[in-house]
Amino acid sequence: MEAVSKKYSHKATGWRLFLKTIIARAYPRIIGQQREISWMVFEVVMPMLAVISYVFVYRALNAPEEYIGFVVMGGAMTAFWMNILWSMSSQLYWEKEQGNLALYIMAPNSMMAILLGMALGGMLATAMRAIAVTLLGMLMFGVTFTVSSYLQLFLVFMLAMVALYGMGMMMASAFLMFGREAWHMANLAQEPIFLASGFYFPIKSLPFWVAAGASVIPLTLGMDAMRQLIFPTGFQFGFMTVQLEIYILAALSVVFLVTAKFLLARVEKLAVREGRITESRR
């Protein structure tokens, strides 16, 4: 009764609403993890299986120990890429399938804030998985890390995450236009990206233009820079200098976030006009 009789003046608007929306959308991502701990087990086990396989391949080939570390780090970073594909890019598609998307559009909040909330929550929740994979890798294969610059490492990681999730927000807009293709598109963007971005080997080993092209994906340069910063001989395997990679990642962050904003507005308009917001094409 009290809630009904209360004045309507508590309605948040402007930046308060924007901020509240971000927190509200990030909340289920983080809290959901605690409610379904068993999912986390699977989400750590799955990348670990790939890590174990590739570590044993390197062992069978008598590869230097650094490569074992590269695989463990790559395995940890796959969690972020999978999160981008399945919980950012495809998320609006899932929301559409479950009927939530129309509610998002009708509500007085910004869609950009919803995507930022998804990104923030996804990033924090995924970081836990990535840490778990790294720790397991260290424990199982005796991988050690020697950080040459904590400041640069922090900067590289944060910029890579901002750019990556900016890219995810951009892709979410594009996925909004997909029907059944969404699942297949996300599925298709796994192995080719693991290959092009050098998740399990240094990107420097690829031809220059292939590596340069793959650098559009923020994890490519992010991982390259991190490998240089956490392995004593990592700089030998670097594609570019860490400093240059930091500049490029900063530029990618701005480009992806701005593009995401414009693309979201455009696609949202198109989807409303063509009636795709509530359409479910199974």
């Binding site: 396989s53 044993f56 062992r59 069978a60 590869a63 029907g179 192995e191 290959l195 080997f201």
Partner: protein, 284 residues
Amino acid sequence: MQTSTSWRSFRMAAWLGWVIESNWTDPFLFAVYSIVKPVSGAAILVIMYGIISQGNFDSAMFPYIYLGNAFYIYVGAVMTGVSWAVVDDREHYKTLKYMYIAPIHIPLYLLGRGVARFITGSIAVFITLAAGILFLNVRINFAEVNWLLFFTTLIVGVVMLAMLGLLLAGLTLMTVRHEGFIGEATAGALYIFSGAVFPLNILPEWLQPIGYFMPTTYWLELLRRSLVGNVAAAFPTLANFSDLQILGVLAGLSLFFGTISVYVFRWCDGIARERGLIDRTTNY
């Protein structure tokens, strides 16, 4: 009547599976989708090998890794294809309950649903092998290939994988929320324990017996032997066994796992019916 019901269940399920797998896009995009994924997976291993061996693709290790990885595509495709039909029908299309009340044979329906994945898997295997032979120095002398052994092994293996898929389908029927992971996790674990991309003796000793108990280990070994006989001799894992002995072990283990699969599926199916799990959806 029974035969016609069984055949109809299998045939229609195979057609349904193919339509679901292929009609989400135009043929060109479908072809790209079918090619890019497996070739990228193989390319990761090729690059890893190339970096460490400094481009020496003449070593016996290379065809061992390449062929093992290429044929392993069948494991993910067939085994997961059969079990995924439960998730697809129950959670996604919400039609599993209708299938259960239709006059069809459910295990054969599920096996039929795996046929489409077998076909797309076969295309992927063929393309991966062709890419290896044409561009990556995988040397297969077709005049020396033991075709009888190859096709016998392939058929036994695909049937064995389909039966393992049925086992997983049974477990999937009883599982909530994690059903999507079951197939992938099993395929991922078998990738390690079957020596698909590294000889079994690389595994820690205490884990090797698991590999020796898996039919996929013998299946991959025989496929390699039938295509490039000299490769098998280069690795000590099963070097002391003749082709016929390995085929016998493969047949025995396939029969063992096939029988287990039938009983496990029946048991899970019974429980699922009793507990009303056939039409349960979790929105995951």
